[in-house]
């Protein structure tokens, strides 16, 4: 792959068949086209046979377009939407376990948790575990602040995103029809 000078973090939302092998097919496409997946989240949707995947990838705009095109071509893929940050909402969930020995440290952690609207979901004599949701900036910000204490473990879900307003991933467009052309000429 040629070098990308304007690579930035791009978010793609996909609807795919909920079948074995589909996730690896999607993931393989990224690696064989030369992209690294920054975040990957998959889960159920309103339709039982369909899984929604949100993928963050580092790429410039032309390459992201090519990637979307290649994804749309796969048979198990229903739709692909390249989300843009101005009209989409991004959320991620993070669990963070911090070493907090003694009352003073524990109080400090709890105060910071309050500022970030994080909840404490587990306490032991030496640790606190927090849960927080938000976009990437907020989660990374909180992790940075908490790093003055000893962070024992972080688990993040990967970002999920949805468009604002009436727009959905299912919206018909000319482009979508064009991609379905090959699939529907059975």
């Amino acid at each position: 792959m040629e070098k990308m000078t304007n690579a930035k973090r791009q978010t793609l939302a996909l609807l795919v068949d909920n079948e074995p092998g589909v996730l690896s097919q999607i993931a393989r496409l990224f690696s064989r086209k030369g992209y690294n997946i920054e975040a990957f989240a998959a889960g159920a949707t309103e339709n039982p046979g369909v899984t929604r995947i949100t993928i963050d990838v580092l790429a410039d705009d032309p390459h992201t377009e090519l990637l979307c095109n290649q994804l749309r071509k796969l048979y198990p893929v229903y739709s692909v939407k390249w989300l843009n940050s101005e009209n989409s909402i991004y959320r991620e969930l993070m669990l963070i376990k911090v070493l907090a020995e003694g009352g003073e440290q524990r109080n400090d952690v709890m105060q910071l948790a309050n500022i970030f609207r994080a909840q404490i979901i587990d306490v032991s004599s030496t640790t606190l575990t927090l849960v927080v949701t938000g976009d990437d900036d907020k989660l990374t910000g909180m992790a940075n602040i908490l790093s003055e204490f000893k962070i024992l473990e972080i688990a993040r879900t990967g970002v999920v995103a949805i468009e604002r307003g009436i727009a959905t991933i299912n919206d018909e467009s000319k482009e979508r029809g064009e991609f379905n052309y090959g699939k529907n000429v059975l």
Partner: protein
């Protein structure tokens, strides 16, 4: 009716109209081969020498007939031996259904004997692939696999059936092919997101826009790509080219999409394209590419390709648009349908001036005539003159492939069978076997190089056993000609590992397989050998000796401007 899995598979093949299967048996697929006996006469199995040969034969069968090719192979090495053939079919959009069996369910995942994750191996080289673990889903999955292989942009589909599934019983009901889309898995695809649409119509506005672009153009150029061949849109394409009176360049995969003797043809385009084609690309004001993906062998330098022209791309696969070359307009649709709509809206154009300019450059490479030894053009011209006009030409990969495409004239889709995208050496013999089996009434020849032919020459046993009258021309220059050409021009004549200064003796090899072999190094002997071969009605090998330093001309280096011809 109650049938076991392997019988259901046979019934499904019959539903699809399949009567030819290529393959090779082995442990896990034995139930299928057992059932094959019951279907003798309805499904004809051709046993090759190697699974790779079977994969190329099914590919050649599919390309030459337009039907779906079918291959059987066993698990493990059987499946992995198919991979080169699968990738070849994938790169050239050839509809083939590859069927292998895997170890039984209780052995899966235990690194059992001849077990491999074959669907995983096939993932990046198939349109779609399936592992069947439940006999109740067998029929529906096979129907889906065939539909996907031949629909839209065709391509290979791989089915892996567990051995126990082939022995288990299930209820089978015959469903005619037209009704497949109303049942099972195909119904789901149909209803998925376009409930009322079978085949989306081509956007009329896009058509109208192209019509006005054509009318404004003074210097149009057409590219006939593989999509014209796969879509069998040759009649429409010829009519379209004649109507807009446009010079037409033909890609390697497009051979046969345009009548090869049509005076509008400028010859091949790209790395070994004719001067007429490549200069026309650079000078035209509109470039209309039909079913072509602007590969690096056509658009050698994508940034400057057709830089003065508006580029219009007609393709069935939306993901090809703007992939390699930025386009100004595109139409997504079946070539046949799009061209028909365009023809309806266009009047006869006249571009005599422009044609005069384009055809002032040669469309074919010239050679000095009258030498003692054979030259590539002389060889091709002699073959073309003595063989019937509609002879199917299968090729391997290398210099001989380029010469064959430069000098033969292909008139209909499926007349040229060649590995364009994947460039698979050793493809030709298997493909010729498949083509001959699919077209028993036509003459089939193989144009091979000495290097390519050695790779899979064991399939001579298949030629002999099934008594296939394939005439094999080995363009023997005692070297890997294309490698030598690059070493000569780019690697300072450092001929590393490219000399074929070793056996076998192809005449003796043919003899060992029970076929006649000839060695010729001049025009007279060549003619005599061809006449004798034709009269015998048997397969044979004609070893044609060429000079070791013969080159494919013209040549544009990879990554260079399309008119930047090397001095050869």
């Amino acid at each position: 009716m109650r049938l076991v899995g392997s019988e259901i598979l046979m019934e499904c093949l019959l539903e699809q109209g399949v009567d030819v299967v290529f393959g090779y048996p082995g442990g896990t697929i034995l139930n299928v081969y057992d059932s094959l006996v019951k279907y003798k006469g309805r499904i004809n199995h051709y046993l090759t020498a190697h699974e790779q040969g079977a994969s190329h034969a099914a590919d050649g069968y599919a390309r030459s007939t337009g039907k779906v090719g079918v291959v059987f192979a066993t698990s493990g090495p059987g499946a992995t031996n198919l991979t080169t053939g699968v990738a070849t079919a994938y790169m050239d959009s050839s509809p083939v259904v590859f069927i292998s069996c895997n170890v039984a369910e209780n052995l899966i995942g235990k690194d059992s004997f001849q077990e491999v994750d074959s669907t995983g191996v096939m993932l990046p080289i198939t349109k779609c692939n399936f592992q069947i673990t439940d006999v109740d889903k067998l029929a529906s999955t096979v129907r889906k696999a065939f539909a996907i292989a031949r629909s839209g942009r065709p391509g290979p589909v791989f089915i892996d059936i567990l051995k126990n599934v082939t022995a288990e019983e299930a209820e089978y009901e015959f469903v005619p092919r037209e009704q497949h889309k109303e049942k099972g898995l195909l119904k789901a695809i149909y209803e998925r997101d376009m409930p009322d649409i079978q085949k989306p119509a081509v956007d009329e506005e896009d058509i109208d826009k192209l019509v006005s672009m054509i009318k404004e153009s003074e210097k149009p150029l057409l590219i006939c790509g593989g999509g014209v061949v796969r879509g069998r849109a040759h009649e429409e394409f010829n009519q379209f080219a004649n109507l807009i009176d446009s010079p037409t360049a033909v890609t390697v995969m497009g051979g046969g999409g345009m009548n090869g003797r049509n005076p509008l043809v400028t010859g091949m385009i790209g790395m070994h394209g004719s001067q007429a084609s490549n200069i026309a690309v650079n000078e035209c004001d509109i470039l209309i590419a039909v079913g072509c993906r602007f590969s690096d062998r056509v658009a050698t330098e994508p940034e400057t390709f057709a830089s003065q022209a508006k580029i219009v791309h007609i393709d069935i696969d939306r993901s090809e648009i703007n992939k390699n070359v930025r386009t100004d307009h595109h139409i997504v649709g079946d070539a046949k349908e799009v061209l028909r709509l365009l023809i309806e809206r266009l009047d006869q154009q006249d571009h005599s001036e422009w044609k005069k300019f384009v055809f002032s450059y040669p469309t074919e490479t010239k050679y000095d005539e009258g030498g003692e030894t054979l030259n590539p053009k002389q060889l091709c011209d002699t073959i073309a003159r003595l063989m019937p006009m509609d002879t199917i030409v299968s090729t391997d990969v290398g210099q001989h492939q380029m010469w064959a495409i430069q000098h033969f004239h292909f008139d209909y889709p499926g007349q040229l069978i060649t590995s364009g995208g994947f460039g698979t050496m050793g493809f030709g013999l298997g493909a010729a076997i498949g083509s001959q089996i699919g077209n028993p009434d036509k003459s089939v020849i193989l144009v091979a190089g000495d290097g390519s032919f050695r790779m899979n020459c064991h399939e001579l046993t298949t030629v002999q056993y099934y008594d296939l009258p394939i005439i094999i021309f080995v363009f023997n220059n005692q070297t890997l000609g294309m490698v030598r050409q690059w070493q000569n021009l780019i690697y300072h004549k450092n001929f590393s590992q490219s000399d074929m200064d070793r056996g076998p003796d192809f005449v003796k090899l043919a003899d060992a397989y029970g076929l006649k072999g000839y060695r010729v190094n001049n025009q007279k002997d060549l003619e005599a050998a061809i006449e004798e071969a034709k009269a015998s009605g048997k397969g044979c090998v004609i070893d044609c000796i060429l000079d070791i330093d013969e080159m494919v001309r013209p040549m544009v280096g990879g990554g260079s401007h399309i008119t930047d011809f090397m001095r050869i």
